[in-house]
């Protein structure tokens, strides 16, 4: 059980932090800070002009889902420690 508690805490926090980073990334891409859209286009090597809103929506849903999932794991960890 001890190893499960550690794993739950680690995965939970990783999910919450990654989710927040994903939401922040959506914002950076949406506002095109640091010319982020063309950087991403270069990395992925695919045209993004038309499909960018769809990718942003998917990334936003993913980010929010990970935050939710992470919180549920953190809650389990908190209940175990209290």
């Amino acid at each position: 059980m001890f190893s499960r508690r550690i794993l739950v805490a680690a995965v939970g926090w990783i999910q919450v932090l990654t989710g927040i980073i994903a939401v922040a990334l959506v914002y950076i891409l949406y506002q095109n800070f640091f010319d982020a859209q063309s950087v991403l286009q270069t990395i992925l090597n695919i045209p993004l002009e038309e499909s960018l809103p769809l990718y942003l929506l998917l990334l936003l849903i993913f980010g929010l889902f990970w935050i939710l999932s992470g919180f549920s794991l953190i809650q389990e960890w908190r209940e175990g420690t209290s």
Binding site: Y30, N45, I67, S69, Q75, R78
Partner: protein
């Protein structure tokens, strides 16, 4: 709902200060630009302001009756729960929360606009980024439990507005037509009414303090009605002077102007012996403080609604977690702030104003309906104050709200249509949240786990297809390789999270 007992220590003056503090927010400082634009309502914004103030006053009569009869925490949510319970009560709380989030985002953007004007000589501030930073700062302050002084900001704003009105009356005020003289401008007139209605919404913050009011039978209705009337007088006077000072040439293209109307108007006022720019600086500082006051109020209201919904089991219990050191609901505050940041980050003032109005008008309709249902089904409920001319006032309140929501949509106003779509999406989200409550926590975690496993499994399939070159995807740079590794990491964590959520033993 378990009753949260708070000490009754606020009198009529405190109630008024709560209402005025929330009512005299950032809205008048930024939304006048959009409402008074020549293409929208022009100087007929005065009539639009009167219409929206009247719509607010009609519903405040219903708030007064319900607030005096049920002086408990929760405000609109509590009233709708007493009348209907279940889904409609949840929807009232939900839309009140959403409109507070949108209002907070609007306040953060308003702060950024005025801060940019104020510091334009020293630095060029990015508006959305500044808005996000101020939300972050206020989140930290809220978690630390720092309260705002209740009376200083409204009193200071009344003084600033008083000086502004007096200065305008003494220096260069132009008479202006205040009625929509051209029938072709009627859509713009109603559009302006939707823009101006948030300038009155703050008054209802009084019911959020109802549980702390001494002698609530009298003080809640008196402070609500007095405050609603005062807000009509204040907003009309400020708008009349502001438009009169810039009228008519500066109303063309006002919505696109980076400079707020009040700043433009203050620029024309010179009160000797003070330097010419002093009135501009005073208005800018007032705008910054009004934005901060609005942001604080909106964050306080949304945290209290979220806690009410969580306490009744509609939202996950971890939102009730209290910080061990500061004794504040830090997870609820963080969750709220995340939503405010998302909306403030868009930087779209007009849409936020429209969407906030939509959410609040829906709540107005539910409150008026609750009043009518309670009058019919609980006639013996002790009502220290009764809405006059019943049922004319609640029906007129509902009609006014429907009119303000419906006419801009009927005329094809783009922001109104977007706000309607957002409202529909939020209703669907509300229905999902409401029914998830019925599903239970254990099943919810299984569902989250299943979705995580699905995401992980889908990514494994993607990797397989990429490796076997079934899909044409090539990694062209070292950054691409990093991205690929990140995706592998996400895949592994998703699968782990899925297994952990599904195998959880917690059965609350």
């Amino acid at each position: 709902m378990s009753k949260l007992k708070l000490k009754r220590e606020l009198g009529l003056f405190d109630g008024l200060m709560v209402g005025l503090g929330a009512g005299m927010g950032i809205e008048i400082f930024i939304l006048l630009n959009y409402a008074a634009d020549f293409e929208v309502a022009g100087s007929a914004v005065m009539s639009a302001l009167f219409l929206s103030g009247l719509a607010n006053l009609l519903t405040m009569l219903s708030y007064s009756e319900l607030g005096a009869a049920i002086p408990e925490v929760g405000g609109e949510y509590t009233y709708t729960k007493a009348a209907y319970g279940g889904l409609l009560a949840f929807l009232a709380g939900w839309f009140r929360w959403v409109s507070s989030v949108l209002g907070a985002a609007l306040a953060a953007l308003g702060f950024a606009i005025y801060a940019r004007e104020l510091f334009s000589s020293f630095i060029s501030l990015n508006i959305p980024l500044t808005a996000i930073i101020i939300v972050f700062v206020f989140t930290v302050l809220s978690i630390r439990g720092i309260e705002k002084p209740r009376t200083i900001i409204p009193v200071a704003l009344i003084i600033v507005f008083g000086v502004f009105i007096l200065g305008g009356l003494l220096y260069g005020l132009q008479p202006q037509p205040i009625l929509p003289v051209n029938l072709g401008k009627l859509p713009g007139f109603f559009e302006a009414a939707v823009y101006t209605v948030p300038m009155f919404f703050g008054v209802r913050a009084i019911v959020a303090s109802g549980a702390q009011m001494k002698n609530p039978d009298k003080n809640i209705p008196r402070s609500l009605i007095l405050c609603a009337l005062l807000m009509i007088v204040i907003n009309l006077s400020v708008a009349y002077v502001a438009i009169g000072l810039v009228y008519p040439e500066n109303l063309v293209g006002l919505a696109g102007s980076p400079e707020p109307l009040l700043v433009m108007a203050a620029r024309t006022v010179h009160i000797p012996p003070f330097p010419p720019e002093s009135s501009v600086v005073i208005v800018m500082v007032a705008g910054v403080f009004a934005a901060l006051a609005s942001l604080t109020t909106a964050m306080m209201v949304q945290s209290s609604i979220m806690l009410g919904l969580t306490r009744d089991g509609y939202l996950p219990k971890f939102l009730l977690s209290i910080h061990h050191r500061f004794k504040t609901p830090y997870i609820a505050i963080l969750a709220n702030s995340l939503f405010i940041i998302i909306f403030a980050g868009t930087g779209v003032v007009v849409f936020l104003a429209y969407a906030a109005s939509f959410g609040s008008l829906l709540v107005f309709i539910l409150v008026n309906l609750s009043l009518m249902k309670l009058r019919k089904e609980k006639p013996y409920l002790k009502r220290p104050f009764k809405a006059p001319l019943y049922p004319v006032t609640p029906v007129a309140g509902i009609a006014a709200a429907l009119l303000l929501m419906g006419i801009p949509i009927a005329f094809g106003e783009q922001n109104a249509e977007s706000a309607l779509m957002l409202a529909f999406s939020l209703v669907i989200l509300a229905l999902m949240t409401y029914h998830l409550r019925m599903v239970g926590y254990r099943n919810l975690r299984v569902a989250i786990g299943g979705m995580s496993l699905g995401v992980g499994g889908f990514m494994v399939l993607l990797f397989y297809l990429t490796m076997t070159e079934s899909i044409p995807f090539t990694i062209s740079s070292p950054l691409g390789l990093v991205l690929f590794l990140v995706l592998i990491f996400v895949c592994v964590v998703s699968i782990l999270a899925g297994i952990l959520n599904i195998t959880a033993k917690s059965g609350r």
